[in-house]
C-alpha cells in the first residue's frame, strides 16, 4: 500500500463512519460501529497496521493523519453515545405519569394566636416609632394600679374598673391589674425622662364573659415623657401609629374625654377604614371608629412618680388589642379568641 492509497482509505473510512455514526439508531448500533471502526479488528485499526511498512518520510505524513481520524471517530462516537443516552433518559422520564393536581402532603405547620399576631404588629410599629418594651406585674398593688395614677380611693372612677382582688400574704392590698397603665407608674418611678415606652399585656376586669366582654383581655400602652411634650406630639405619633396599623390613608380625630391619669384627655377615633368615612354598619353610620383613649399625663401622676411637672410633660395612650383584632379580622365575638377552636386558629 502506498501513501496515496492510505490517504484514500482514510478518507473513505472517515466518510463511511461519520455517516454511520450520525445515523446510528441506538446505543447498540454505536457500539457495533465502534468495534467495526476502532475495535481490535476494526477498519481503522487494520488500516493503521500498514503504517509500519511506510518510510519515515511517509510515516510523518500518514501517522498524524491516522491519529487525527482516530480522535475524530472517537469523539463522534462519544457524542453520539451521550446524545442517545440523554434521549433514552428523556424517553424514560416522559413515561412518568403523575397526577400533579393531587392534594399536597400536609406539612406540620402551626400558627401564632390571632391576638399574638395583632399585638406583634402593634409592637413592631411602635418599636419603629422608638418605643421600647416595658413590663410590669399582673398582680399589682393598689398604689401602682390606682393611687399613683390619680385614681383615688373612694372615687367613682375607681369603682368603674370592676377590680379583681387577690388574696395573698402581702401586707399590701393586691389586685389583678385593671389596665396596662400600672407600667407607667412602675417605670416612671424608676427612670428619669426622656421616657418612651410601650407596655403590652394582659389586664383583668370583673366583667361577665359575653360577646363583647371578657374578664381577661389585652391592652397596649404608650408613654412618652420629655421636655415640652404636648397634645400635638400625641397627635403626630398616634397618626403615625394608626397609619402603620390601618394604612397610609388613615385619618384620626380627637374627642374630649376623661381619664383620671391624663389631663387633657382625648378619645381617639379613626376614619372608618371599611367605608372611608362615608358611614357603614361597622362605624354605626358615623364614619368614625373609636380606637383608644389618650391624653397629656396628669401632672399629679408625674409628681407621684417623682418627676417635676414644671420641667417635664408627657403623653400616654392605651388601646385594646381585642378590639382592633375583632375589627380587622372580622371576629364579632370576643370569646372566639379564648375558645381556641383549631378551625379558627389555623386561618391566621
Amino acid at each position: 500500500m502506498n501513501l496515496q492509497q492510505f490517504k484514500e482509505l482514510c478518507a473513505q473510512i472517515e466518510r463511511e463512519y461519520t455517516d454511520k455514526i450520525a445515523s446510528a439508531a441506538d446505543l447498540n448500533a454505536v457500539e457495533e460501529l465502534r468495534v467495526a471502526s476502532l475495535g481490535r479488528k476494526g477498519a481503522l485499526t487494520e488500516l493503521l497496521k500498514n503504517l509500519k511498512d511506510f518510510s519515515i518520510e511517509e510515516k510523518k505524513e500518514a501517522g498524524p493523519l491516522g491519529n487525527a481520524l482516530k480522535a475524530a471517530l472517537t469523539q463522534a462516537l462519544e457524542e453520539k453515545t451521550a446524545a442517545l443516552s440523554a434521549q433514552a433518559l428523556n424517553e424514560e422520564l416522559n413515561r412518568v405519569d403523575l397526577d400533579l393536581t393531587l392534594p399536597a402532603r400536609p406539612a406540620a405547620m402551626g400558627k401564632r394566636h390571632p391576638l399574638s399576631i395583632a399585638q406583634k404588629r402593634m409592637t413592631d410599629i411602635l418599636s419603629k416609632l422608638g418605643f421600647t418594651w416595658a413590663e410590669g406585674p399582673w398582680v399589682e398593688d393598689e398604689k401602682h394600679n390606682f393611687d399613683m395614677l390619680n385614681i383615688p380611693k373612694h372615687h367613682p372612677a375607681r369603682d368603674a374598673q370592676d377590680t379583681f382582688f387577690a388574696e395573698t400574704g402581702s401586707p399590701l392590698s393586691l389586685v389583678l391589674r385593671t389596665h396596662t397603665s400600672n407600667v407607667q407608674s412602675r417605670f416612671m418611678e424608676k427612670h428619669k425622662p426622656p421616657i418612651r415606652i410601650m407596655a403590652p399585656g394582659r389586664v383583668f376586669r370583673n366583667d361577665s364573659l359575653d360577646a363583647t366582654h371578657s374578664p381577661v383581655f389585652h391592652q397596649i400602652e404608650g408613654l412618652y415623657v420629655d421636655k415640652n411634650v404636648s397634645m400635638a406630639d400625641l397627635k403626630r405619633d398616634l397618626t403615625a401609629f394608626m397609619k402603620g396599623l390601618l394604612g397610609d390613608k388613615t385619618e384620626i380625630r380627637f374627642r374630649p374625654s376623661f381619664f383620671p391619669f391624663t389631663e387633657p384627655s382625648a378619645e381617639v377615633d379613626v376614619k372608618c377604614v371599611f367605608c372611608e368615612g362615608k358611614g357603614c354598619p361597622i362605624c354605626k353610620g358615623t364614619g368614625w371608629i373609636e380606637m383608644l383613649g389618650s391624653g397629656v399625663v396628669n401632672p399629679h401622676v408625674l409628681k407621684n412618680c417623682g418627676i417635676d411637672p414644671e420641667i417635664y410633660s408627657g403623653y400616654a395612650f392605651g388601646m385594646g388589642v381585642e378590639r382592633l383584632a375583632m375589627m380587622m379580622m372580622d371576629i364579632n365575638d370576643i370569646r372566639t379568641f379564648y375558645e381556641n377552636d383549631l378551625r379558627i386558629l389555623n386561618q391566621f
Partner: protein
C-alpha cells in the same frame, strides 16, 4: 343622665335640632348614648278616613286612595303602604304641610299627581320604630282633627354619659351652663319666689364637720300633700320616674333641674327641735326606706335627732321619717356631704341612689340655698303651707383655688397656637373670677367646677371650647434612645415561633382555674394566688400551670370534631412564694392524635410517640447552652409515672415533658388515652440568651470522616444515656461523632441482654485519618464500653 331638650330651654335659648345638639355634646366630650324624639314636629296634618282604594294604573304595588277629610271634603292621593285598608282613620299631610324640615309639595307618582300624603309614624317623626306602613289612628278621633294635638309638643330626650369628673353635668342647669359657654349665650338662672319665712327652722348641729360641710334647711308647716302639677309629672315621667305625689316629686324634680339632692322629712317624726349630723356608732342598726336593715360602722354619716337616726346621709332616708300621704309639716334638707364619705358608705352597704351618685362625685356646695328656695316655691304652689326661715349652717365657705398661668403654657400643653383673645373669651365665660390684665393670668372656677384646679385642666377646657380639631399633628422630634426588649419577652417570641414552625398552634386562655383542678394537678391551694371576688366557681385561682387550660382546649376541640391537635400557650403563671405573688413566663404544650390534622391519601404516617415529643423539645431548646433532659426524679401526679423527663437548665429543673396521666386526661374531659405534654419556665434560659450576642461559628470539617459501625451487647437495664456518656467522655486523639442506628432486644440474644449499634464518624480537623488511627480510636471506645458498662462486641 337623661336630659330633656325643652327643660334645657328653661335655662338657655337654643335654636338647634336634636341632631345638631347631639353633635355639640359629642364635641364637648359628652357621649350621647341615645336620642329619643318626642311629640309632634309637624304642621298641616289632619285626620282623614279612607273611603275607597283602587290599584294605580302604572304600578302593581301603589294604590289610589280616596279619603274623607270631614266637612264634606275629600281628597285622592297615591299611597304605597302595604297596610292601607278602607275604613282606616289616618294622618293626611296636605300640600304645604311641614314634616320636620320638609314642606310637602304636589308629587307626580308614576304619572298620577298626588296632592297630599298618608303618613307613617316615621314620617311624622314620632318614633324610631321600623313598623312598616301608614299610621292607623283610633276610630273615635273626629275627622279633620289636627293630628298635632294628639301628640304633645316636639321635644327630645338625650341619654348622656357623664364622666365621673363632671358631676356638675348631672342636671339640666348644669348642661345648660356647659352649652352656654360653647354657644356664648347667657344662662337664665332660676329666680324662685322668695318667702320671708315665718318662725325658725329646726336647729342643726353638725357633729361630723368632715362629713358635712354645709347644711341648709327649712320647715314648711301646714302642707297638704297633693298630686304634682302636670309639668312635673310629665318631666319626671320622661326621666323614667313614676310620679307619686308633690312632696316626693318636687325633691326629685329639683335634683334633676339643679343637680342638688334634697331630702324631705316628716317633721313630726323628728323628736325635739334639733337635727343632728353625726357619725354612726359602731354596730348601730338602721332601717332604710326600702326596708333593708343595715348594721353600720363609725364611717357612716347619719342624719337624726337626739334619740335616733332618720337618714343615711346623702344616700337614703329611713323608714321612720319618710313623707306620708297625711304629712302636714315637712323639714327639707339641702346639704353638701363629703364625696369620699358617701362613696365609701354607698359601696360598703351596696346602697345607691340618684342622690348618692351626685354626692359621691361631688355636688355644688354653692347650690344649696337656691335649690331649697326652688323646692319651697314648688312645694307651696302644689301643697300650700308656710315656709319657715332658712337655716344655713356653712362654717367655712368653700372657694376653688386660684390658678395662675400664662397663655403660652396653655398652648404648650396642647401644642396649639390658640390666640390670646380666644383664650380670654373662653376662660372668662368659665370663670368665677378671671384676670388677664398681666402676663400671668389668674383663674378661679365657680363652686360647681371643682375639677378645674391647675393649668392642665384649663388647657383641656380651652381645647374643648375651641374644638379639639385645633390640635395639630406636631413636628417630628429627636429619637429618645435604644433599649433592648426584656429577655423574657424576646424568648417568648423566639420559642413561640419555633413551636409554631414545628406544628403547634398557639392558644390563649383565661388565667383562672378552680380548687378541683389545682388538686387534680397536685398543686396546693396555699401556694396559689386566690382571687377574693372571683366571678364564678372554678375561677378562684390564678394558674400555677398552663396544662389544665390546654387539656381543656383539647377536650373542647374534640367536642367540635377536631382530633389531631398540637397546642401551646406562652404566658405568665402565678404562685405564692412565702405569701408573696410570683409571676413567671411559662411555655406549655400538648399534642394528641396524628401529627397533621389534614388526612393525606397516602396515609398520615406514624402517630407521634414519646421520642417525637423529645425531638420537639430538642428542636425548641437545643440551641441554648446548658439544657439537658433526664428521667424525672419525682413525677408529678398528673404525669405518667414512667414517661416523664425533667428539663434541666444550668443544673436546675426548669420544666418537664412526657405523657399526661390517663386519670388527669379523664378529669379534664379529654377523650384520648395518650396526650404528650411539656411545660417549662422561660426565666432560667435568660442566663444563656442575649439578643445582642451572636453565636460564634465552628468551621465545617474539610476532611472526610472515617465511618465505623459499633455493635455491642449490654445488660438490658443499662440506659442508653450511660453508653452515650461513656463515648462522649472517652479521651481520644481524634474527634468522634456518634448516632444510634439500631436497638434490638429479642430471642436471638442471650437473656437479659440488648444489642446497641452506633455509627461512629471519626475525624480530625487537619487531615484524613489513617486506618490505624481510626482502628485505635475504635478499640479505645470499645474497651471503655466493656470495662465501664460490661459491653461485649457483637
Amino acid at each position: 343622665m337623661k336630659i330633656l331638650q325643652s327643660w334645657l330651654q328653661d335655662f338657655i335659648d337654643i335654636d338647634l335640632t336634636p341632631e345638631e345638639l347631639a353633635q355639640k355634646f359629642t364635641e364637648l366630650g359628652i357621649e350621647v348614648a341615645s336620642v329619643e324624639k318626642k311629640g309632634a314636629d309637624f304642621e298641616g296634618v289632619t285626620v282623614a278616613q279612607i273611603t275607597h282604594i283602587e290599584n294605580h294604573p302604572n304600578s302593581d304595588h301603589l294604590h289610589l286612595v280616596d279619603l274623607d277629610l270631614g266637612g264634606g271634603k275629600s281628597q285622592r292621593v297615591v299611597c304605597g303602604a302595604p297596610n292601607v285598608a278602607v275604613g282606616q282613620k289616618v294622618p293626611l299631610a296636605h300640600v304645604g304641610a311641614r314634616l320636620g324640615k320638609v314642606v310637602l309639595t304636589p308629587a307626580k307618582i308614576r304619572g298620577v299627581v298626588s296632592e297630599g300624603m298618608i303618613c307613617s309614624s316615621d314620617e311624622l317623626g314620632l318614633s324610631n320604630t321600623r313598623a312598616r306602613g301608614i299610621l292607623v289612628l283610633d276610630d273615635n278621633i273626629p275627622l279633620g282633627t289636627d293630628v298635632r294635638t294628639l301628640y304633645g309638643k316636639a321635644d327630645a330626650l338625650f341619654d348622656l354619659e357623664i364622666t365621673s369628673n363632671r358631676p356638675d353635668l348631672l342636671s339640666h342647669l348644669g348642661v345648660a351652663r356647659e352649652l352656654a359657654v360653647l354657644l356664648n349665650k347667657p344662662v337664665k338662672m332660676p329666680k324662685p319666689q322668695e318667702f320671708a319665712g315665718e318662725g325658725e327652722s329646726l336647729q342643726v348641729d353638725i357633729r361630723a364637720p368632715q362629713g358635712c360641710q354645709r347644711y341648709t334647711s327649712r320647715l314648711i308647716r301646714g302642707v297638704k300633700n297633693a298630686e304634682s302639677p302636670d309639668f312635673i309629672k310629665e318631666r319626671l315621667s320622661a326621666m323614667g320616674l313614676n310620679p307619686k305625689n308633690a312632696l316626693v316629686d318636687v325633691t326629685n324634680y329639683v335634683m334633676f333641674e339643679l343637680g342638688q339632692p334634697l331630702h324631705a322629712f316628716d317633721r313630726n317624726e323628728i323628736d325635739g327641735d334639733t337635727v343632728v349630723v353625726r357619725w354612726a356608732e359602731k354596730g348601730e342598726k338602721f332601717i332604710l326606706l326600702d326596708g333593708r336593715e343595715l348594721t353600720l360602722d363609725e364611717h357612716a354619716l347619719m342624719i337624726g335627732d337626739e334619740h335616733k337616726a332618720t337618714a343615711l346621709a346623702g344616700i337614703m332616708g329611713g323608714q321612720n321619717s319618710g313623707i306620708k300621704e297625711n304629712t302636714t309639716d315637712i323639714f327639707i334638707e339641702s346639704a353638701y356631704f363629703d364625696a369620699p364619705t358617701i362613696n365609701k358608705t354607698s359601696k360598703k352597704y351596696g346602697v345607691s341612689s340618684d342622690s348618692s351618685q351626685r354626692f359621691e362625685r361631688g355636688a355644688d356646695i354653692g347650690m344649696t340655698q337656691l335649690a331649697l328656695k326652688r323646692a319651697t316655691e314648688l312645694f307651696v304652689a302644689a301643697c300650700g303651707g308656710t315656709p319657715s326661715q332658712i337655716s344655713d349652717v356653712y362654717p367655712q365657705p368653700y372657694e376653688n383655688p386660684v390658678v395662675s398661668f400664662t397663655p403660652a403654657q396653655i398652648n404648650g400643653i396642647l401644642g396649639t397656637g390658640i390666640e390670646e383673645e380666644k383664650l380670654k373669651d373662653i376662660f372668662s365665660r368659665l370663670a368665677l373670677h378671671f384676670d388677664a390684665s398681666g402676663d400671668v393670668w389668674s383663674f378661679q372656677a365657680p363652686t360647681h367646677r371643682r375639677d378645674l384646679n391647675h393649668r392642665w385642666d384649663l388647657a383641656e377646657e380651652a381645647a374643648r371650647f375651641a374644638g379639639f380639631d385645633c390640635i395639630p399633628a406636631g413636628q417630628s422630634r429627636a429619637f429618645v434612645g435604644f433599649t433592648e426588649n426584656p429577655k423574657g419577652v424576646d424568648l417568648l417570641e423566639i420559642l413561640g415561633d419555633r413551636l409554631a414552625g414545628l406544628g403547634f398552634y398557639e392558644c390563649k386562655n383565661i388565667d383562672f382555674l378552680g380548687e378541683k383542678e389545682l388538686q387534680a394537678f397536685g398543686f396546693s391551694t396555699k401556694n396559689a394566688v386566690k382571687i377574693k371576688n372571683a366571678m364564678a366557681k372554678g375561677w378562684d385561682y390564678l394558674r400555677p400551670t398552663l396544662l389544665p387550660s390546654l387539656l381543656k382546649n383539647i377536650a373542647f376541640n374534640q367536642s367540635r370534631g377536631n382530633h389531631d391537635l398540637a397546642f401551646f400557650e406562652a404566658t405568665r403563671t402565678f404562685s405564692l412564694i412565702k405569701g408573696f405573688p410570683a409571676e413567671t413566663y411559662t411555655i406549655s404544650g400538648v399534642q394528641c392524635g396524628q401529627r397533621v390534622s389534614v388526612p393525606f391519601f397516602k396515609g398520615n404516617g406514624d402517630k407521634p410517640d414519646f421520642y417525637f415529643l423529645k425531638g420537639i423539645l430538642q428542636a425548641v431548646l437545643g440551641s441554648f447552652e446548658g439544657v439537658s433532659f433526664i428521667p424525672a426524679k419525682e413525677t408529678p401526679v398528673y404525669m405518667h409515672p414512667k414517661i416523664c423527663m425533667d428539663i434541666i437548665v444550668n443544673g436546675k429543673k426548669a420544666g418537664l415533658f412526657g405523657a399526661i396521666h390517663p386519670l388527669t386526661l379523664k378529669h379534664c374531659g379529654v377523650k384520648e388515652s395518650e396526650v404528650w405534654a411539656f411545660e417549662f419556665a422561660v426565666k432560667p434560659l435568660e442566663k444563656n440568651f442575649s439578643a445582642q450576642q451572636f453565636k460564634p461559628a465552628k468551621p465545617a470539617p474539610t476532611f472526610p470522616p472515617s465511618l465505623r459501625d459499633l455493635s455491642v451487647l449490654v445488660d438490658k437495664d443499662v440506659p442508653y444515656a450511660r453508653l452515650a456518656e461513656i463515648v462522649r467522655q472517652t479521651a481520644l486523639p481524634v474527634s468522634v461523632h456518634f448516632d444510634l442506628i439500631d436497638l434490638y432486644e429479642g430471642d436471638r440474644l442471650p437473656a437479659g441482654k440488648k444489642s446497641v449499634t452506633f455509627t461512629l464518624a471519626f475525624s480530625a480537623p487537619d487531615r484524613t485519618l489513617k486506618d490505624t488511627e481510626t482502628e485505635a480510636a475504635f478499640n479505645t471506645l470499645l474497651e471503655k464500653l466493656r470495662t465501664q458498662a460490661g459491653a461485649e462486641l457483637r
